[in-house]
């Protein structure tokens, strides 16, 4: 039996996909609001940014966890994505708005 056939793993994958989708839609809406010069473009962009930085950490952490030792070693890129994901919380991306 594959590990993805276990609910403990499958549910994590479902949640990861759901969180990515949630963040993506919020980001698209924020971008659309900036294009429209919408009055809450600023706060929406802030929410999208904050949400995405959290999401990136949750999802990459889960990915490392699911792969176990294989997620932790540098032979595979997953631990790198987790490290790279950590950077977003410290970037001052909001300067562009």
């Amino acid at each position: 039996m594959k590990i993805a056939q276990k609910q403990a793993i499958a549910f994590m994958l479902a949640e990861m996909r759901t969180e990515i989708e949630a963040s993506r839609l919020l980001t698209w809406e924020a971008a659309w609001k900036i294009d429209q010069h919408h009055e809450d473009a600023f706060s929406e962009a802030y929410l999208a940014n904050t949400g995405a930085t959290d999401m990136a950490m949750t999802v990459t952490d889960r990915a490392v966890q699911i792969l176990g030792g294989h997620g932790y070693i540098r032979e595979h890129p997953v631990e790198m994505w987790m490290r790279n994901g950590r950077g977003f919380a410290t970037f001052t991306g909001l300067a562009i708005v």
Binding site: Q7, F11, T18, A22, S23, Y46, L47
Partner: protein, 421 residues
């Protein structure tokens, strides 16, 4: 295709009316109906029937577009389900229990809409446009079959002598079962859609849905549940004892009546359509709670400073911002799922994801709101504690959070029900 985040005009135009109904008819009596479980909000129901006849508002079944073909007029994209999501959200913001009492097409009608033939739609759905309110219900769950619907044991046997189906079994947790079956003077006859098996050995492939009219001999409401929340909405146990229904009350084309080799996708098709709408109701409750706590914080001089880095925010600011992120992104997932349903795109993944997310965020947000408000949150003086109780149902009915996670996982892994149980 360009992405559009503006609500279509017909939807935007009705927001004000919905808010007024939610405030005047629902919010003001929210506490009363919470404390008087099993009382029926007749005046809300009758008011909504009038509104519904004029506008089509409130039903889980989108109105068929009128077929007036004017070649000069540009074709508008279909927005039926999107409209319903907005209505569910706005009315649940008023009171979700009362919203569930909105007459004229809930889950039973949604099943007829999703799986019925044109003749069946004509026969069962036109009654909702009459003068008196009509209710309908979906009977799926049994004492021995919850999320594992293939374990359903209610049976349907064809009596060849009379060409009738004979139904036997007991259904529990039927939303609006009482209003659909009990002959209240102020309502017209409703119906229930009963899921039964033609062959218990066939598992899910043997399952079919039958429309059972109110007043059918052998059908009775056995009891009504007392619940944590959505107390205004009745939850019934229904017993079927040699209940006879005409042959053509089996949902779908007649050939599905005999061939159990192929499964009947009707139930799942219904869920794809209704899950985002149920999720939208949850979002309405969460928005009510979030708006309330923001109002109370503002009254107490707390300003939420959007734009500051996390480390400069107070704990309450972080909580409020996190709740805003959850609420907005969950809502967008619903809008995407209903947009896909309107445009006849397969939305099993998006529909279940929107329900997973909404179940999570409505329970988290309402719980956090109770926490931030402290004694005010826990007290029955305000509605925060009630919203906290109401919210939890979002993660349970129309597929629990776990079942929807299963559906999502199967979709993204391309697994069958056998690969991932």
């Amino acid at each position: 295709m360009p992405i559009e985040f503006e609500a279509p005009k017909p939807i935007a135009n009705q927001q004000f009316v919905l808010k007024t109904v939610a405030e005047e008819m629902m919010r003001s009596r929210s506490r009363y109906f919470d404390e008087h479980e099993h009382e029926i909000p007749f005046d809300y129901i009758e008011f909504m029937q009038t509104v519904k006849r004029a506008t089509g508002a409130g039903s889980l079944v989108p109105r068929e577009e009128k077929k007036e073909e004017d070649p000069n007029k540009p074709k508008r994209p279909p927005i039926g389900y999107q409209m319903l999501a907005h209505i569910a959200e706005a009315l649940a913001w008023g009171d979700v229990g009362m919203y569930l009492c909105t007459p004229g097409g809930m889950l039973g009608a949604a099943a007829v809409q999703a799986a019925g033939t044109p003749e069946q739609k004509e026969k069962f759905l036109t009654r909702f446009l009459g003068e008196k309110p009509v209710f309908d219900a979906m009977c799926m769950t049994e004492a021995g079959a919850g999320s594992d619907t293939s374990a359903i044991r209610t049976s349907a046997v064809l009596d060849k002598a009379t060409n009738e189906w004979v139904l036997n079994g007991e259904k529990i947790f039927v939303t609006a079962g009482d209003k659909s079956l009990t002959p209240y003077e102020k309502f017209d006859n409703g119906f229930i859609v009963v899921w039964a098996t033609l062959d218990p050995k066939a598992g899910r492939a043997g399952m079919r849905a039958f429309v059972v009219e109110a007043g059918t001999p052998g059908v009775r409401v056995e009891k009504l549940e007392h619940k944590l929340g959505i107390r205004c909405s009745d939850t019934a146990t229904i017993v079927l004892q040699d209940a006879r229904v005409p042959f053509d009350h089996i949902l779908g084309s007649p050939t599905i009546a005999t061939d159990t080799s192929k499964g009947f996708k009707g139930a799942m098709a219904t869920f794809d359509a209704t899950r985002p709408l149920v999720a939208a109701g949850g979002i309405g409750v969460a928005r009510a709670a979030l708006e309330f706590v923001k109002e109370k914080l503002a009254e107490n001089g707390v300003v939420i400073r959007h734009g500051l880095p996390r480390q400069k925010l107070t704990s309450i600011e972080r909580d409020v911002i996190d709740m805003e992120i959850m609420l907005k992104s969950a809502w967008l997932m619903i809008i995407k799922a209903v947009w896909m349903a309107d445009n006849r795109k397969s939305n099993a993944l998006e529909s279940s994801m929107s329900k997973v997310k909404a179940g999570d965020v409505t329970t988290k947000i309402t719980q956090k709101v109770v926490e931030i408000l402290g004694p005010l949150g826990y007290s029955r003086e305000f509605l925060a504690e009630k919203w906290f109780r109401d919210a939890k149902i979002t993660d349970i009915y129309e597929g629990t959070g776990q079942i929807n996670r299963l559906v999502v996982a199967r979709q993204i892994l391309e697994y069958s029900g056998k690969d991932l149980r």
